[in-house]
Symmetry: C2
């Protein structure tokens, strides 16, 4: 069968895959950085796409946002200072602020319109933006990281779009070097790293670039993310200091979460054999 315009469709030639949700367009705008569209879907609530790629839906964003923040924060001994690069929908910021040990959470988003549209269509993701610990900065994450005070950050979360367009510079040795400089000695970076099935080569390249930049250990975590290609997604953790990955799970079940808990924390780090094999030599 064919899909007509009553479906919101993301078709990707490079992977030969497509995903679609039944729905209709509510809004479209071209910002200086990208084209943002908002749809109302029949079963997934609102959907934001950027340059045609699915970004966030009301129904399933909890998977990505919880798993890009809690496993990393609960693997760091004391994540007081957190910086989110990208993440303009504010969903990751909201999860980060659930940790009482976090004293400062800064979101560095290049495109203010992502946040303004999120406030309008995903208000539940923005309901902690007024937290006194939160700072919303709108500007270039690459420049921000270059200018960051050395040794000042505990956890950097790179919550970006795919490695094309404005986010391309966030995937690579040059940017990682600035991140390492900005991190405290036991600091950690976590970056969304696409699909374990569809983008394994990209994941290998990312981990290799992280190591080349000077991160001493890299780890993958994975989780379901329904609206992203393949429905299966990953994050990559990079450590500045060997052996600094901990498991602080005492409070894991007390976080107000839908997917994340003590068990799914550990499960996220359980790597499939084909992934282990691919990453073994990096």
């Amino acid at each position: 069968m064919s899909l007509d315009q009553t479906w919101v469709t993301e078709a990707i030639d490079a992977t030969g895959t497509a995903f679609a949700l039944k729905g209709k367009k509510l809004h479209e705008e071209q910002t200086p950085y990208q084209k943002i569209e908002i749809f109302e879907t029949e079963t997934f609530g609102y959907l934001m796409t950027i340059d045609g790629c699915t970004m966030v839906s009301t129904r399933d964003n909890f998977l990505y946002h919880e798993m890009m923040s809690h496993p990393a924060l609960n693997s760091h001994p004391n994540p007081e200072t957190v910086v989110i690069v990208g993440g303009g929908d504010c969903g990751t910021l909201r999860e980060v602020l659930k940790h009482s040990e976090v004293k400062s959470a800064t979101q560095v988003e290049i495109d203010e319109r992502v946040t303004r549209l999120s406030e309008q269509y995903f208000p539940e993701l923005c309901d902690k933006n007024g937290d006194p610990r939160a700072t919303l900065f709108f500007g270039d994450g690459i420049q921000w990281m270059k200018d960051a005070a050395p040794g000042s950050i505990d956890v950097i979360i790179i919550d970006s779009t795919d490695p094309v367009g404005p986010a391309e510079g966030l995937f690579g040795k040059k940017f990682y070097l600035d991140c390492i400089k900005a991190l405290k000695p036991n600091g950690m970076l976590v970056q969304q790293s696409e699909s374990p099935l569809l983008h394994l080569e990209l994941i290998k390249e990312m981990h290799a670039a992280m190591k080349e930049a000077g991160f001493v250990e890299t780890t993958l975590l994975h989780f379901p993310q329904v609206i992203y290609p393949s429905g299966w997604w990953s994050g990559s953790i990079a450590l500045k200091q060997k052996g600094s990955l901990v498991s602080r799970l005492d409070q894991a079940d007390a976080l107000d979460t839908q997917f994340y808990n003590r068990e799914t924390h550990s499960a996220a780090f359980a790597l499939p054999s084909f992934v282990k094999k691919a990453l073994a030599s990096i």
Copy 2:
């Protein structure tokens, strides 16, 4: 955008979701039971659909087949006698036969054409069909289970299509009663149980029906399955005898698998908080 006929598309109105692979049709036939189609895709190898639903692809079937067999078999103390209901592509049978403790594995598939087409397009899934421990029976699984010798089976794997059409009778109390009768005292049933996100109500109903039929414990496991709706799938385990679920993981890493290993075994049973909550009262 729209998807044209160069895409093989499964669109589901009930869930408002669609998944598609770039490819072209090689074969189509209407059997007495269902319509089977075979496609050659650009990035996922061959694809079989039944009544328009994606069933098996060359590239990602390992996820489903490994996770529908190894977690269950390694959770049973001594799975000597295994019966697969459905599973005509023979992929589950192949995984079951990797266990040296299995003395007999019987596949009960209603539609012989599924197997014959699998032999042609997925020969790697059928390469153990000549194993002396394997029996391929073509007939109605519901009748087969009714006629099975009481107390004769260790593990029943229900590897069926969705609960509509010929597979409908495999989801419900009446069939479960026959399964319980056919199982040994410490016997186990495992059934594919759709998507944790899209079909949570169905999963609840299944577990309730299993309990009503007399199974004393039910457990969910979950895993990625890219070509199925949402890319996230589940199996449901039902036990005839309380406390008989074990973890025999000594040999888990020695199985020749791509996804399954000791860690992903445990990870599959780590339930997301929203799933735990939904199943808590059953």
